[in-house]
Symmetry: C2
Amino acid sequence: MARPSAVAQRRREILEATCEVVAERGFRDLRIADVAKVAGYSTGTVHYYFDSKEDLLKDAFRFQYDQSLGRRDGHFEEDDDPVARLRKLADGYLPISAAAVRSWRVWLEFWVSAVGDRSLGEVNEVYYGDWRQTVIETTKAGIDLGLIAVGDPVAFADAFVGMLDGLAIQVLIGSKHMTVERMQATCNAFIDSVAIR
Amino acid sequence: MARPSAVAQRRREILEATCEVVAERGFRDLRIADVAKVAGYSTGTVHYYFDSKEDLLKDAFRFQYDQSLGRRDGHFEEDDDPVARLRKLADGYLPISAAAVRSWRVWLEFWVSAVGDRSLGEVNEVYYGDWRQTVIETTKAGIDLGLIAVGDPVAFADAFVGMLDGLAIQVLIGSKHMTVERMQATCNAFIDSVAIR
DNA sequence: AACATTTCTGACTATAGCGTCAATTAAGGT
DNA sequence: ACCTTAATTGACGCTATAGTCAGAAATGTT
């Protein structure tokens, strides 16, 4: 071996740049040339590490999901009760920080591309299922502790995650009706309506 | 005048075809050639009625919105009470019929394109604002009649429309967790939680 | 029929961008 | 110092497609 492999590092750099460009220009408008520019390499280098644009995009989604997972779990405190955890989950997903906005944009692009693309749908199944499960379990824990009053925790969790997604879209579009503040208020009102105080 | 104008009719045909193609291929992957083929004309004809691809897409969104407005209002009965109306609104938006699925796909594509495109955002502002207002007013009517118990009708309406959007996305992707049936059940559970029986 | 006007066509131009590749540079190893 | 392999470059080939345009066809009017 003549040199130590820089493959893992380079791939990370390029995936990072790809997420940046997806958030800015979208999935389908993404140009390899933009990714190369942001990463600080030539287009040839991007193709050296990724066979095709499609490969690059799929890997970029996985990369970005793993990153936001880390952000999410970092928000919890050991002694948060389930209601506090629901609030933190909602807060953590507000498209308020640059990183959160970027994540949302990448997700949105991903979802739209996943409509009618079976293989992307399977990636969503795993990652979205995981997130949904977190909310379901937090809700159940709240019920067990007598802090949350809902008939069906799964229906509540589905409504909750669905609401977050729908509201985030309008925030991202820049709707005057749905600002980040209104989204937060709406989420809190939603949690308040089932929290036993 | 040498001939009666066929402009309105042709534009409708072409917009219809455009929605078809957007639902199939997406906003950005749409090719004028595909629209022409579906409409049964040449690419030149599409350009004869629409100056640019962007114009075509904007008009197509408006067209499809007006169509689904018609579908929505057709669902109401004169004597429906507000709670029944909310249920019908949710039912009418379930991505179950081919027409509803197509509408949702067009919306999704449009929203994603509107992220970071100010002029598309303004179109959304008008149409989405109208839809949101319908839900707000229906909720207020329910409160006035003592049929709905919510603290803040606007927060409730925002949560409701947001939930619909978020759930629909997962249904469209084909998630095993979120089928049309589950979406309907989730919506009904949500309405039940505020309906005074 | 002759004409005017609208509608329609499809070839053509121009441009954009993916992926290839031959050449170059960087960085060990011996 | 020299060799070997990895990494990188950027020009280029190729394909796709938006939009133009000159003319042809259709459809009325007189």
